[in-house]
Amino acid sequence: MSTLIIAIMVPFIAAAMIPFLYKKIVKLHIGWFAMLVSTILFIYLARFIPSIARGETFAHTINWMPSYGINFAAYLDGLSLILALLITGVGSLVILYSIFYLSSKESLGHFYTYLMLFMGAMLGVVMSDNMMVMYVFWELTSISSFLLIAFWYQRKRSREGAKKSLLITVSGGIAMLVGFIMIYVMTGTWSIREVIAGAGGFASHHLFIPAMLLLLLGAFTKSAQFPFHIWLPDAMEAPTPVSAYLHSATMVKAGIYLVARFTPVFGGEAIWFWLVTGVGLVTLFWGSFHAVRQKDLKALLAYSTVSQLGMIMSMFGMGSAALYFGYSTESVVYTQATFAALFHLVNHSTFKGALFMVIGIVDHEVGTRDIRRLGGLATLMPFTFTIAMIGSFSMAGLPPFNGFLSKEMFFTAALTIHEAGIFSLDAWGTLIPIIAWVASIFTFVYSMIIVFKTFLGPYQEEKLEHPAKEPPVGMLIAPGILALAVVGIFFFPNLLGDYLLTPAMAGIFPSFATEGLGVSIYAWHGFNREIWMTIGVVVAGILLYRFRTYWMGIYKIFDDKWSFNSLYSYVISFMEESSTTFTNSYMTGYLRDYMVYIYLFFIVAIGGTIIYTGTYAFDISGNAPITEFEWILTFVMMIAGISILFAKSRLTAILLNSILGYGVAAFFVLFRAPDLALTQTVVETVTTVLFLVAYYFLPEWQKEDVPRKSRNVNLIISVSVGVIFTVIALAVQNGKLFESISSYFEDSYKLAGGNNIVNSILGDFRALDTMLEVVVLLIAGIGVYTFIRLKAKKEDEHIENQ
């Protein structure tokens, strides 16, 4: 089905069109266009449900980088379809809601562009078969989320929240990328399907565990798992439709999707089990525990989302244990956790989406989300209240709402798994149902807070910005539909289960026979342990809610100073400050310091290699004899050279430099190089003249008044550099390996018509060097001219003087 790829591309095309449409069409709200796109996609995807339910899968590939096996491969199976439907379905509702929520004064063009970008990216994530392409879309979701969070970029908090979410999710994404690459190195394919097909074949590879950990890092950051959850509450700076869509219903599910997708590969491993389950449970507890203390409704929902995501994550973890046993009738029992996870995934999207929209309505209508200022809205906003109640009770796990069903299944899974007897579960397994239960109590408490603190209790109009009233009908449609779904699923859970969840199970447990995987969901299954747990939750929850003033003091222990949030801010500010201090400490802007580093590197690297390889042997037996004149000349040059260091005036220094130059020329004569001697003498003279001309304008040579310590450093460095230079040179003279090619040039007359070999080399054999050297000279000449002629005007200086 090639339309799959088109389906992924459609939102992107829409995103590209929206800015233009926004400019052209002034009358109509641009959101309608976006909604149209998203609804069409939903319908298109929904058409796949029957065939997917029959166990079919769809794939289509377009080549992108076939050389590297990275291709645009779309793949649709049950698991993808659930998420794809959520993305487009919730997407349509959110857009509908946003049309009424956002005032037309906002830059809607940007908003819907980002939203469409996100939708496309998200579809890409869940429908990509190629890991690299999936990564592409994965990062795109982070980016579009970044843009949406900072939609009101004038606000500092928006920017900070956007920054935090981008940094955390992209870091995770990069970790995931490395994990993907490791999988590629192990399996030689980028295709997820092929990796799954070969699963088990590389479990003993030494990269297996690192790849798994990195992959989980990506999943955990994206799904806001403990301790990476900190970005999610800050992401609530985004407009509420965005929070409803990205930060509860879809994007944060990408991590969960990833875990589900790779369960066939890594499931059955103890590390995977413990990490996914453990992190999930900790997140579940931590999120629900902190949700209770929140005063901002949106923050409360954010923590509740964190907690719910943890719950789903932990269920996937528990379900993965089934793969340890391989397929058998006993092991199918454990897959129920996974089924529950998928079920809750859907449920969570429905009730949390509805709740976010409700909170948005409250915020929109009364101008605040602070529960200390809210209360008694139930009578004024009855519809809103109803929806909020449905959502909250579903979240709390009460019948007759879908949350009850999945919560029950969660308890079942938690109870089943700790009896599995693997992965040292007998030692720690008991903790699983306990944590699950405790967290559920807190979940119950905050759900009650939403309902009772907002809608019941005293109505304090003076604290609100606007008096409360029902919102426009349009705004209620979307949450209403979601609330209906919440109830509908409770009554007809198996419709969902048979058509969507069971096929998805096949994607997660491909090695299991499909028939055994389906689970029939029943609202009532007798007075078993689960129902007693639920009753316990309700009782304990009500008690805790009633007496919360007595135990809220417990949160004082969790001071803000010690939260992960402040750790994040501390790390960021510490990094910036210490990096400035550190960089300033060595980037002094002082040439000498830089040269010291460079020479030190020279000494350490080269000296070290010399010692390491032992290349300091040399003998002087093959040397040419030295005449007295040469001794004297060498001696004179050495003395002259050293005297430069002690010269009192610059003229003396120049003169001594000239001695060196003429001395070198004399050596050229001794070494039978007339051309060089000629050139050297003339160049030396011209250089001397140049020095004279330029030094006239420079200040008089002053005594170096540097501290003794740095002088000693200079001395040590220069001597070491000199010694290393000499040692290598001597070693080279001793270690000649091959004859030089230069004997060829001795035929220069025959070859190039010149008797002067050097000149023939310069003018013919290596004429390019000469030509380029001429260019060098030319550049120098013209350059000097421009140096002197082009002087900055005073007004040009202003930039660096700041």
Binding site: T627, E628, F629, W631, I632, L633, F635, V636, I639, A640, S643, K648, S649, L651, T652, L655, L656, S658, I659, Y662, A665, A666, V669, L670, R672, P674, A677, L678, T681, V682, E684, T685, T688, V689, L692, V693, Y696
Partner: protein, 94 residues
């Protein structure tokens, strides 16, 4: 015999150069140094002449001439530097 004489005179020139170099290093005044440098240049001319005799090649005769010329030029440059501070003037002030 002849070779010995040539080597001897080369060595003598070397000593003369060394002495002049000593003068350059100790100074005391700038003109002293310039005089010594001029002398080194001239001594080198002679030394090169002897070397070319020793090596039996005519290749250095240009060097001799050039060295002489340049010793002259640099001496003039230095003396002008000492006298006026600037060695090339834009416009003569006389």
């Amino acid at each position: 015999m002849i070779g010995a004489m040539l080597y001897t005179s080369l060595a003598l020139y070397g000593i003369a150069i060394a002495i002049s170099a000593y003068r350059i290093i100790v100074g005391p005044s700038l003109p002293d140094r310039v005089v010594a440098l001029d002398m080194i240049g001239v001594m080198l001319v002679s030394a090169i002449a002897i070397i070319s005799v020793l090596q039996g090649t005519k290749a250095y005769l240009e060097v001799i001439l050039i060295l002489a010329i340049l010793a002259f030029i640099s001496t003039i440059a230095f003396s002008k530097y000492i006298e006026r501070g600037v060695i090339i003037e834009r416009k003569r002030d006389d």
